[in-house]
Subunit: 348 residues, 2 copies
């Protein structure tokens, strides 16, 4: 983070190449195989928009599978670009059912789904959905923003044509860019289809291939930090090792929160180890803003809810966190809940 | 750079607010006055595209004043978005003449110009051009990527409606985002006109105004570093202090390169103190790649040329550089030139 690399520097270009190859391998794809890796400046949303606005040609028809805010965001994106878009919607606490999409695939050229919908933490069955999409001959776009690197994904196995994630989620880098893993044939077909200059996925890939430089100034420090984060992922045992730590984080959180009387929003079988949603306590003295602020003062940053259907808050268990941090969080939650809800709150 | 702030954290939100106010003041605008500041993730090009794709309504007609690669890039952007675009072109070694645009303003709704065209280092007369644009009632877009913070600019004085720059140029931050200083009325008029989701300038501003949060994950580390960079700009005496250092850097470079026999591409009166372009020596033994690589090995990173009309290279004199670094560069250039062009090169 403190090394000021030049973006045309040979060492920096080598780091970018290694980043792209490592990302492919995390997705079960060999460099030089069927998939390509494109890095895109901006937040993860920029990387998703680079796919939506580059890969769907004029006349394309997109089907978005929606069970949360991030699915709705892709719908919004498509509308801004004048792309014909339809949805299959499921309640926020239900997975997208592969059976529900079969009859909706006719005439559809592209299908987009969120892998781990961080609105709730639910994980959609991307492999089973991908099978239906592939059978229908459509292009399959998977938003794996908060899952890639911590939930095993085999790109070819899930039939993904475009998979998108970001530097600052499960790879544990810092924010500044996102990335797209793309089936080469689909990426090549996107040439000339982009509706923007900056987010042109094919042109960005060409730039990275021809000499390894970004078309436009890259966030050099964030990229070097990400390179180190990828090495640390390897040192932890790759996706399996990271998944084990996050799962343990979640299990300790879930047991502790249950003991404190908090009710999870999702059924246990639908709940990922990425982020967990809890309903507000029914105690009338509970005020989320106060709960959030006191935890934040103690060094614990939780997430407000993003649900349209129920008042909830969320706790993430990804990032450089382990058992110690989760136990400390639980102790803080207990103290704050006690202070806020003296009378009625169920405490064991 | 090493502090991992939460993007919803109160301290981080306060830093973002202070950054936006400081940028306005650098442009001679008071917070709460006629101008607003919008930060945009990505490189400077992303920030320019956010203006071009958000501020020009359907039916708008853009005139781009072109005397280098960055002007051409705005033309390309407009074409991608289907915006009707015309150009006034000048040779790469000539400033845009305000007189040349008068007869071209009829029917034009927006005019875009590059302040310091880093293709060469030439500085266009943005105030005189702005007067003509304002008189014609058009909206004036100034790309001040490589000048803002080091060449004094009074937003209202130059009649700028939108001025764009980036974190990693004369403010001396690290790459990761750009910023737009916008006349409030013009910004408000851009509501609903955006052709993308991520680069929607008005929506981005609304997000920053309502609670101070970015719509999409910001590059938190780059923003905190930029906050510190703004304090260091102040400590150096603001734009005047920074301009003095950069001017001195340039003067020493220009004298030293002249003594070594290198020929500048621009006339001295057109040359900025931001970046200086030199023609390749006529010596047949000069190979730029070798020249670049040897300097790079010694720790000096120069720029390849970007000219369509003449083989040149460029040397930047902005960033955390002073007399010592420029003198060391000159010594290295002398050594490398000597080694590469033993026979014919003119050395004093």
């Amino acid at each position: 983070m403190l090394h000021d690399a030049g973006s045309r520097d040979a060492e920096f270009i080598a780091a970018v190449r290694d980043i792209r190859e490592r990302l492919l391998r995390i997705g079960g794809a060999a460099p030089g195989g069927d998939y390509e890796c494109v890095l895109m400046q901006g937040s993860g949303t920029f990387a998703i928009e680079s796919v939506i606005s580059s890969a769907i040609p004029r006349g394309g028809r997109l089907l978005v599978l929606v069970n949360g805010a991030y699915g709705r965001r892709i719908v919004e994106m498509a509308r801004v670009h004048g792309i014909e878009v339809q949805t299959v919607e499921a309640p926020e606490n239900r997975k997208i059912s592969p059976d529900a999409i079969d009859e909706r695939l006719e005439g559809v050229t592209h299908v987009a789904v969120i892998h781990c919908e961080t609105t709730t933490g639910i994980v959609n069955p991307i492999a089973a959905i991908g099978e239906r999409v592939a059978r229908a001959g459509a292009t399959y776009i998977v938003d794996a923003m908060s899952s890639f690197g911590a939930i095993p994904i085999d790109l070819n196995g899930v039939h993904a044509d475009f998979l998108i994630s970001s530097a600052n989620k499960c790879i544990e880098g810092v924010p500044g860019f996102g990335f797209v893993l793309a089936r080469r044939g689909r990426l090549l077909a996107a040439e000339g289809s982009a509706r923007t200059l900056s987010l042109d996925l094919h042109a960005q890939w060409q730039g990275l291939e021809n000499g390894g430089q970004f078309r436009f100034t890259p966030p050099t420090h964030a990229l070097l930090a990400f390179h180190q984060a990828l090495r640390e992922l390897d040192a932890e045992g790759g996706v399996a090792g990271r998944a084990a730590r996050y799962r343990r984080n979640h299990e300790i959180l879930a047991a502790g929160m249950e003991a404190l009387g908090f009710e999870p929003y999702l059924a246990p079988e639908d709940q990922s180890y990425i982020i967990t949603t809890y309903r507000y306590p029914t105690d009338p003295e509970f005020r989320f803003e106060e709960f959030y602020a006191r935890l934040s003062e103690m060094g614990f940053v939780i997430y407000p809810g993003k649900l349209s259907q129920a008042p909830c808050f969320r706790i993430g268990t990804i990032g450089r966190l382990g058992v110690g941090e989760i136990e400390a969080l639980l102790a803080a939650v207990k103290d704050v809940a006690h202070a806020l809800m003296r009378a009625a709150f169920t405490l064991v």
